[in-house]
Every structure is written in C-alpha cells, then in structure tokens.
C-alpha cells in the first residue's frame, strides 16, 4: 500500500463528530478566562489578520512568516480525531489542516534539532485572562521532533467547513490526537527548532501533574483524578462514561515512538 493511500484511509476515526456548537462553546483557552464558556464569550477581541509566525532556531529558513506564506504549498485535508482532555472529558472533532511534517520540511530542519517548541500569542489588550497569573504566559508547548513529524500531528486551520473559531485557537493551532488536549497549543505565533527539551506551560505550573509527554494513558492517573475513563461531551446528563484508550486509541500508530520508555516515569 502506498503511503499516500494509507494516509487518506487511516487517520480519521469513523466515530460521529461532536457538533460545531459543542466544539466551539466548550473550550479551555485560559488567556480568555478559565471558565469553559469564557473563550467563546471573550475571544472575539483577538486580531487574527494580520498574523505572523516567527520560525527560528535550528532551521534553514528562519524568519517572520505571514500566515499565507507559512501555509503556502501545504495540502489541507479533513482529519476526524478523538480529542481527550486531561480533565477527563472527550470529543470527536473534524479538523481541517495539514501535516506539521510538511511545514517542517518547508522551513528546513537542521540536523542538530531534537525538539519543536511552540508559543501562543500573548496580547494583554485582547486577552482578559492573562491579567491573572494562572500560568506563566505566554503559553508554551513542545514536541519531540519524531512526534512532531508523525503524520497524525497536524497544524489545524479549521473545524468542519468553517475557519478555526478564535476560541479554538485561530488562525492556526497544533493538534496531536494521542496526547492530552493541552499539548495541542492554540493561536501559534512562534515555532522554534531546538536541541533541548523546551519548557512547557503546564509542566512549569505543576510538574507533578503534567509531564512533558502527556500521552493519553488510562493506566497513569492524574494525581487528582483517574484517567481510566472519560465523559464524552454531548451525551446529556445521563451519558455513560467510557473507557479511555491507550494513546487515545492511536496506539497502533504511535506506540513505537515510545518503545523502551517507562510511560509512568515519562508521563
């Protein structure tokens, strides 16, 4: 089977996606407030045009890219992914986006690079939530280079046929479906190729609770709650919990990335 064919068939789940309304009214985007409906209420202030992404570090073509320049030449497709929040709720989301690997190829990753670091916009004038030191702003995330290059890892620019809602991380965000949702950083303004594991926001805030990898793992509990099960969003008040899958159901695709690693140690 040609790799291209495997892709087209293999990466979307056939589970029924959540509605656009569910996906765009129930968000964690603390820059706009810590309540689940705060982002949908407050994020309209975010200016997304123009949008510049700084690409720096160990790359051949560093620079400040406009969104159009950055995404030029990328092949967008729909990817219907399970989305599992570290808070133990889950959704199914039809993203539109392109593979991060393609973007990395475009900017040219140099041989010394081992990790990719990302940064969310920090705009105190547009983001009411950053007045409070809930996290050490700007929001930062990172992936190991092989995780970043995995074909499941995408840069998303839309949901269903809509452009990415601001509360979901417009205009461009990361989606890593086998990791807890907070790894999928929103509204990216900086991508850095680096040789050391970059600091990441939740890990800085509480290293005991949030590891760098943060792979979905039903056997490794969050210190304050079990990760064995999850509440699917959208089922009403009598919805049954369901069992959380290893790597959020992407075990076949990604387990090899972590061969030989103790996942309860590298959580």
């Amino acid at each position: 089977l040609a790799p291209g064919l495997a892709r087209a068939q293999g990466y979307s789940t056939d589970e029924t996606p959540n509605s656009f309304e569910e996906i765009s009214t129930y968000n964690n985007y603390y820059e706009f407030g810590t309540g689940k409906s705060d982002p949908a209420e407050n994020a309209d202030t975010l200016t997304i045009d123009p949008w510049t992404v700084k690409v720096d570090g160990l790359v051949d073509k560093p620079g400040d890219y406009s969104l159009a320049d950055l995404t030029d030449g990328m092949t967008e497709e729909e990817r219907i992914y399970r989305f599992r929040c570290v808070e133990a709720w889950s959704m199914v989301i039809p993203w539109r986006g392109f593979e991060l690997a393609d973007l990395l190829d475009k900017v040219g990753v140099q041989s010394g690079a081992k990790y990719v670091a990302f940064e969310t916009a920090l705009r105190p004038d547009e983001m009411p939530g950053v007045r409070f030191p809930v996290l050490d702003w700007p929001y930062r995330e990172g992936l190991r280079l092989d995780e970043a290059r995995h074909p499941l890892t995408i840069m998303a620019t839309g949901i269903y046929d809509e452009p990415m809602p601001k509360q979901n991380g417009a205009p461009i965000r990361l989606v890593v479906p086998w990791k807890y949702g907070f790894k999928s950083i929103k509204s990216i303004v900086r991508i850095s190729l680096v040789d050391e594991m970059p600091p990441t926001s939740w890990n800085i805030a509480n290293p005991r609770e949030y590891g760098f990898y943060s792979n979905v793992n039903p056997q490794v509990d969050h210190p304050r709650w079990s990760q064995a099960t999850e509440r699917p969003i959208g089922g009403g008040i009598f919805a049954k919990r369901k069992e959380t899958q290893m790597f959020n159901g992407y075990e076949q695709d990604v387990a090899s990335l972590y061969e030989g690693m103790d996942l309860s140690e590298n959580f």
Partner: protein
Amino acid sequence: MTAFADPINRATRKLPAWPLYIIGAVPPAWLFWQGVTGNLGVDPVKVMEHQMGLWGLWLLIASLCVSPLRRFAGINLIRYRRALGLLCFFYIVGHLLIWLLLDVQLLSQIWADIVKRPYITIGMIGFALMIPLAVTSNNWSIRKLGRKWRQIHKLVYATAILGAVHFILLRKGLQIEPILYLGAILALLAVRLVPNRRKPTR
C-alpha cells in the same frame, strides 16, 4: 447602626423561617430540569455538580454571616440560621449525589477517588463533619445537648475551611475565584476572635 438594623429586625420579626425551605428547593429542581431538557450547555453534569457545590458554599457563608451581623450590626437573623445550615447540607448532598451517580458512576472509582485524591478526601471530610450538625439541627437536640450543642456546631468552621480548600484544589492551576471564597470564610471566622468588650469580665 440601630437606625439601619431596626427596620430590618422589625420587618423580619414576623417572617417565619419555614418558607426558606420551599424557596431553597427551587434552584436545585430548576437546575435538574434544565439539565434534563438540555439547557445547561454541552457538559450539563459538570454544570450541575459545580453549581450545587457553589450554592452550598454560598449558603455556608450566609450561615456564617448571621452571628457577626447580630454582633457588629445589630441585625438579628438568627431565626433563619438553621434553615440556611440545613439547606447548605441538602445542597451538598445533592452535589455529592450528582458526582456519584452522574459523573463518576463507577463504585470502584468512587472509593479510589475518595482515598487517593486530596481534594476529594478534603471535600468528603468537610461533608462528614456536616452530618452531626444536620442531625442535631432541631430544638429537641438543642435542649438535650445543652452546652455541648454549641461546641458541636463549631465544627461548621472546619467544614467551611475544608469546603473552600476543596474548591481551590479542584481547579487546574491557582485560580482567583476559589481563593476569594477562602478569604471571605477566613475573614468571617477571624471576626469571631474579636474580644467582646461589652461582656463584664469577672
């Protein structure tokens, strides 16, 4: 101060406490109905769970306001305190039932959560301390227990602190709202330490 307090005291003198129980039953019933009919957003169980917990905390704080209001403002709402306390207890029972039956659902996981998760352990201890208070919130117990009754009911101070700490710990990151509640509770407990100068010291 009495110019402010007297009209309130006069107005409430004839108002019995029992309607509070009926009024107090309305919000939970309304919340449950909103949940069943799909009007609580996309995650109704969490909304119900959190709202009942928050309302319970409000009632707890309201009941803690009664004696400072009488002492420092001359406003006497003591006849409503039992209703506030019992309503608080019922709301927290509701909060707990929603968590047990609609959220966690699995008996094995519930017990694991209670012993393993500090914020749930703390919440459960706070709840357990409320049980003797709810059971003795009646005239017969007051007569029967005499002085002991007042001592037992000081457990509410511990419950209030545990409730606020439970709220702080369950949030991701250190958030401002639950800290404000803890601050309010600590302030309400601190004013009780102000020595009463009017009492003759002999």
